[in-house]
């Protein structure tokens, strides 16, 4: 394997609520190499976003990381204190949030919000910081960035705001970007433009990317690797073509089956029966078993990590080894 | 989903049958402070109601007063041999009796005005919610205008026009408070009007008054009760303030506020008790009612419940 930017080992993030323990992230392991794009896929509530926040140490009480290691360029982030984490955040590790309406402070001008990010990490003058902010806005395709710098967030459209958020993430050319559903709610042309920009960054600067999404079609076009999350656990990982062409876990299989495709026009969309389980006091065993067509008595125990094929991991007693129809 | 729920069903079938009232009581009792406050309110109301039988002296019967007993400190003995536990005022009036009778007037004025304001305000609020359009607009305009001026100013204005007196104070309090009831009732009614049971009642083509008073009003009551409790406390405070300023109740019917005002001049010479104990009585009353109101809001407000 090439140089790993991020190597997560056995990470668990639990929320200790009055009603019980919510295992939002439960013993997950994955890694991203320099310049590679990892697609983290799952339904809403599967723990994708919490995984993202765990990586930069922004899980708020009652949640906390209970076990595991987060090795970023060899340093374990779970061992760092708040001050050291803060030096990394927005600098070496940047995050792009899900909701473009809410991520920018509504009462501060764009330049304020960008310049403070530059000056938090680099000892440069305001003028330089402003210059860099303007360049970053231009890079994400915002027309006349000089004038737009003095605007307030509400003067931008939703898509524009998202681009501003992405520009802020790019300010320090980070080594790792965690993007939480960054292109949902953008129209297709802008989405393509941003995807291209991000890919270029990955290639040229060597930025590693974690792309959190529920949209398999984005992943198919963008990611190198994929990790599928279900109920707080990663059930399957592998190279993106491999997993999409030959899903092993019944859940991945169902997920792919429920994506409408041009080839399967006219045929019925398959859907996964049942609902995502509540993560509160989740019982032992495979969380997918109540919805799984292949489940049997064995699934009442926790399936261990297995490595059925080179470069892939899987958590299932009954993987779907035959080809997808 | 259904399979996993099956093992739980035996437990679900035999829940303790709780009436809504029993549940309300148990939820209310979760806070010890609220329980103590409730007991305090009950005691205060009892003292006010039975003051003539409980108090050692009738403070308004001039025959029982002796100016020679004036300004005695707490614990002093009267010539007849009984004790002035809280001292006497300048007229030789037993402070404990004065406070008991004062509570009567304070509570009477506070509760009475809040009740009248509640009826008027709720009626107008419901009318606004139901009529909508112009009627709604003009009622709410009036409410906004009213609420944009502080209560003390409105009350001052009214008493300046009408002069002192128990009735005028109550009228002032009603005018100050109706707007809050109206606003609360209107917003509650607007929420309720969208509920399914109202839809169903409308479909039955029930007469409008029946719709409003039998179906909607009972469901609007919780927020009105909560605001009502807090407004009773506010009314008592405002009455005491007005009486303290000499604009409230007449000297012949002294409320707690007036008792405090009467003792004010003696406080600077160290005779604190004439003002202090009525003040404590007022304070305990207001705090107890407010705390009961707070807990009622927590229990009755469905928004705060998970």
């Amino acid at each position: 394997m090439s140089e790993l930017t991020l190597d997560v080992q056995g990470l668990s993030t639990h929320f200790f609520t009055r009603a019980g323990v919510v295992k939002a992230v439960d013993d997950i392991s994955f890694s991203v190499a320099r310049g590679r794009v990892l697609g983290l896929v799952g339904e809403s509530g599967s723990g994708k976003s919490v995984t993202g926040f765990s990586l930069i140490g922004l899980v708020d009480p009652p949640g906390r990381i209970t076990t595991g290691k987060i090795l970023f360029q060899g340093r374990d982030l779970t061992k760092l204190d708040e001050r050291e984490l803060r030096d990394l955040r927005g600098n070496r590790i940047a995050m792009i949030f899900q909701d473009p309406m809410m991520t920018l402070n509504p009462v501060l001008r764009i330049d304020t919000q960008m310049i403070e990010t530059v000056m938090a990490h680099d000892n440069v003058s305001r003028e330089v910081a402003r210059q860099r902010s303007r360049d970053a806005l231009g890079m994400v395709g915002i027309p006349s960035p000089e004038e737009r710098l003095t605007s307030y967030p509400h003067q931008f459209s939703g898509g524009m705001r998202k681009r501003v958020a992405i520009a802020i993430a790019l300010l320090h050319r980070p080594d790792l970007i965690i993007a939480d559903e960054p292109t949902t709610a953008l129209d297709v042309t802008i989405q393509a433009q941003i995807l291209a920009e991000v890919q270029r960054l990955a290639r040229e600067v060597g930025t590693a990317l974690i792309w959190i999404t529920h949209d398999l079609s984005v992943i198919a076009g963008l990611a190198d690797d994929i990790a599928v999350m279900y109920a707080g656990r990663i059930v399957e990982t592998g190279a993106v073509e491999e997993v999409l062409d030959r899903p092993l876990h019944p859940y991945t299989h169902g997920l792919i089956g429920s994506v409408p495709s041009r080839n399967a026009r006219g045929s019925r969309l398959r859907q996964i029966p049942g609902m995502t389980p509540s993560l509160l006091n989740l019982p032992v065993g495979c969380a997918f078993r109540s919805r799984c067509p292949r489940a049997d008595a064995a699934c009442a125990a926790d399936p261990p990590d297995s490595f059925p094929v080179e470069g892939r991991t899987l958590r299932c007693f009954h993987p779907q080894l035959e080809m997808v129809a | 989903m259904s399979e996993s729920a099956l093992p739980d069903t035996p437990e679900v079938v035999v829940p303790r049958q709780e009436t809504p009232f029993a549940r309300f009581v148990s939820e209310y009792a979760e806070s010890p402070v609220a329980v103590v406050s409730f007991v305090a309110v009950v005691l205060i109301v009892a003292v006010a109601l039975f003051a003539p039988w409980l108090s050692p002296q009738n403070p308004y019967d001039l025959a029982q007063l002796d100016i020679m007993d004036g300004r005695l400190p707490p614990g002093a003995k009267s010539p007849e041999g009984w004790t002035f536990w809280l001292g006497t005022d300048d007229q030789g009036r037993d402070m404990l009796s004065g406070i008991m009778y004062g509570l009567r007037i304070s509570l009477g004025v506070g509760v009475g005005s809040a009740l009248i304001a509640c009826v008027i305000g709720t009626a107008l609020g419901l009318t606004a919610a139901f009529a909508g359009g112009r009627v709604d607009g003009s009622i709410m305009r009036l409410v906004d205008l009213q609420l944009s001026f502080p209560a003390i100013l409105v009350a001052l204005m009214i008493l300046a026009f009408l002069g002192k007196g128990v009735m005028n104070v109550m009228l002032a309090l009603v005018i100050v408070e109706w707007a809050r009831f109206a606003r609360t009732a209107r917003s509650a009614a607007l929420v309720e009007a969208r509920r399914e049971y109202m839809e169903a009642a409308r479909c039955l083509a029930l007469p409008k008054w029946r719709l409003i008073f039998r179906h909607m009003l009972p469901n609007c009551m919780p927020p009105i009760i909560v605001i009502g409790t807090i407004l009773v406390a506010r009314a008592i405070t405002l009455e005491a303030t007005l009486s303290f300023l000499g604009l409230g109740v007449p000297i012949t019917e002294p409320s707690l506020g007036l008792l405090i005002a009467n003792g004010y001049q003696y406080m600077l010479s160290g005779k604190y008790w004439i003002s202090f104990y009525p003040g404590i009585a007022l304070l305990v009353t207001i705090m107890a009612i407010n705390l009961v109101g707070d807990q009622l809001r927590d229990v009755l407000n469905p928004r705060l419940k998970r």
Binding site: G90, V107, T117, A120 | F161, L268, N290
Partner: protein
């Protein structure tokens, strides 16, 4: 923006007019001015002459018109007691009240915001909970009683602070102010604290609620994810957001404080217009009552206008809507 201002001004004029009607009716219809102006021994002819002299035999609308014209020229009658123009009396007393009220506003912001921030950032800490518990007292304690207790403790028992009056004053812009002398400031401590208590509690609770509401928001998390310092997150990002409701409420409360100064001024014998109005009501000095009411309504309307303007300056979202 200008059309919006114009609309607000017209609205303000209408409210003002409505108040003159209410006050006029209150004073001249509900109460009988003749009762106070003429000695009870006056005979019928004397009465009639007075009625004619005051124009009370004219139709009501004509009387009102006369009253309104007078009001526009700043003539609201002469005080029976002081035999001076009522408006002049009010104007003389106003600085004392404004000084007291503005000091109270300042105190509520300077004390309320830091305490509220603390209680909001550490809601479950002992100090945070204590702050909230005590703030309930600030709301529900009757202000005049707190004033009495302050006097009892700090003036009577401890003898630290003077209990009544304005103390020494110094002149600034032709007006006498207490806050310019040490003695005057000492006199102001207790009344200003007393007047401010409710507002400190209000600002504190607003601040805390704002912090609790804003902290879980995405923009806060995003700001933290940018790696900026926690103090910048709180004092720039969060505070700027919660300042909008706080400025609005504090601004609107200035009027309330001026009105409520009536109580504080009576307790501490502070010679402001609140004390004047209470004395005037007690002796039924109607011209002064009318002048006070008109003055305070005008103050209210002006304050509301200023707060609305401030609000648009503070909140960029509102600013834009109004421009369009």
């Amino acid at each position: 923006m200008t059309t919006w201002m114009l609309r607000r001004l017209i609205q303000a004029v209408f409210v003002m007019l409505a108040m003159t009607v209410i006050v006029f009716i209150g004073v001249n219809v509900i109460g009988d001015p003749i009762e106070i102006l003429i000695s009870p021994e006056a005979d019928q002819a004397e009465r009639a002459r007075a009625v004619a002299a005051l124009g009370l035999d004219k139709p009501l609308w004509e009387q009102y018109w006369k009253f309104l014209l007078g009001a526009l020229q700043g003539d609201l009658g002469r005080s029976f007691v002081f035999n001076e123009p009522a408006l002049k009396l009010i104007a003389q007393r106003m600085p004392a009240t404004l000084e007291l009220a503005l000091t109270a506003v300042l105190m509520s912001v300077v004390i309320g915001i830091p305490l509220g921030l603390y209680a909001g950032l550490k809601p479950s800490s002992l100090a945070g909970r204590t702050i909230m518990g005590v703030s309930i007292l600030g709301f529900s304690l009757p202000s005049f009683w707190v004033g009495l207790m302050l006097i009892m403790v700090f003036a009577v028992q401890l003898g630290w602070l003077p209990s009544t009056g304005r103390g020494q004053t110094a002149e600034l812009f032709g007006v006498q102010w207490s806050f310019l002398t040490a003695n005057g400031l000492a006199h102001m401590v207790m009344p200003a604290t007393n007047l401010a208590l409710g507002n400190i509690a209000l600002v504190l609770r607003l601040t805390r609620a704002g912090v609790r509401e804003n902290l879980p928001m995405d923009y806060v998390k995003f700001a933290r994810a940018k790696g900026i310092s926690p103090s910048r997150v709180v004092f720039v990002h969060v505070l700027k957001n919660i300042m909008i409701p706080i400025v609005t409420v504090v601004g609107l409360e200035i009027g309330g404080l001026i009105a409520f100064a009536v109580v504080t001024e009576s307790v501490f014998a502070w010679p402001g217009m609140g004390k004047l109005i209470i004395d005037s009501i007690n002796v039924l000095d109607r011209p002064v009552i009318v002048a006070y009411l008109m003055m305070i309504v005008l103050l209210f309307i002006v304050i509301n206008l200023i707060v609305d303007l401030l609000y648009t300056v503070l909140d960029p979202r509102v600013r834009l809507e109004n421009k369009e």
